[in-house]
Subunit: 147 residues, 4 copies
């Protein structure tokens, strides 16, 4: 069953063009928690060479969204209604890990928290904290997707 869950998330993750563009990979899926890894690269940098806040956000938003999806009934999808991100220190590292966790799953809204850790060798630092609201939706129809 956990592997079904992983498969459901992985299938959606693999269809996100941006995750491929950034070089992010899905590293762990459990009930209520999802992890995404991202190696650093100059093509993801801001002006000082650190990981851009937009890339930090991309992986932790996806981690939170997929964590929420692990709690959604089969056939339902989720979209992020809003999030808030604190960037506590410069995102300096060789690689980054985003962790999204469900804090509360209601019928309509799921609240998640997220963290991004920057790794340099064996050491990591917490660089960002997210608090996100995710809403369950019926999947868009074929014609909506082609708009």
């Amino acid at each position: 069953m956990t592997s079904d869950l992983h498969q459901r998330i992985a299938q959606s993750f693999d269809s996100q063009g941006l995750m491929t563009t950034l070089g992010a990979t899905l590293t762990a899926v459990t009930d209520g928690e999802v992890r995404i890894a991202l190696p650093h690269s100059p093509h993801l940098a801001q002006q000082h060479g650190y990981l851009h806040a937009g890339a930090v956000t991309s992986i932790v938003d996806s981690a939170c969204g997929y964590a929420a999806l692990t709690k959604a009934p089969a056939g339902m999808e989720v979209v992020t209604a809003e999030f808030k991100l604190n960037l506590m220190r410069p995102a300096i590292g060789d690689r980054f890990e985003a962790i999204g966790r469900v804090q509360s799953a209601g019928r309509t809204l799921t609240v998640c928290t997220g963290e991004v850790h920057a790794w340099r060798g064996d050491e990591s630092k917490l660089v960002a904290l997210m608090q996100a609201t995710i809403v369950r939706v019926a999947p868009p129809t074929q014609s909506e997707q082609q708009r």
Copy 2:
């Protein structure tokens, strides 16, 4: 003087690897307001083909940060302390425009609001709203940048 302002922002913008990776361009810089454009592309998509929230965030975070920079004394830099983004409807469009505006500039903290509009032909829709806190900092030293 406005052209000095534009040059200051453009120089920093051009050194952000992520903006090049996404295909974003700086389209307008005035005192307290910055605009960034982004054509849609499958390599920026989420699972339904719409623009990924991470890409939406990347351009509006940069627009807010640079808007704050237009109010900072020469030689100072800015970093985003935190932001909150509401995603009001799916980011469906041919191209997107992010607008960042300064609402209040204090000695340490600048508060900006941001909007992202999705364009399809001649019509646009507001797809996201940001409220961000940006902090003025001294530029990092050469050695910090190489960490």
Copy 3:
């Protein structure tokens, strides 16, 4: 019809014990915008005598919620799912005015922005900015209310 709208909001406002405790009054209701006034008082202060952030939040959260309610179908109610508030300068003034405005009203979620202005005599300053997500709900049943 505007007066029906005003009556609908006023009835709910008058049943909020906290608004009476704070001394807040409903001053304007139009389609998509609500204003609430609050005179300053030592019993609403933080440690320096300024208006406490909790009082600032109380009036602007109510203003945003009631602005959202002006867009809800008759018989529906609204609850705040979340908000973010920036406090840009100390809330120093004789009286305060909160303005809530609908930015986007969907079937489930309404996004509002809010402002709080501090007045001293004829002059006012913007002291706080809110961005809020409000969710439409069916009214609670009598038994739920008595829990």
Copy 4:
């Protein structure tokens, strides 16, 4: 030393008029964590009789601010720059407890997370989550306070 810390926080807490008006009490102060309790009362209610979001915010904002203050050098004060609050379920209970915790304390900015739990007899539910940014400031001068 912990009792010095408690005394420092308690002195400021006792001078907050709003905390007295609400009926809130400071229940625990440790390094990086502060707790505040609030019994429910009709004079703190929203239109359905539950605790108003403004009262929820007041106690958790104070808990976060004082948690940040436990990490500030002697003589420095703190002010809330901004916060975001998710309200996950109706604040129904006999009494409420807000917990503020420091997640990261920098030279200028401290990031805290906060929780509000609703108690009914021996059972509690998490009703709200906060993520806040607090800024260290020099204390206002006597004349500023009298403005």
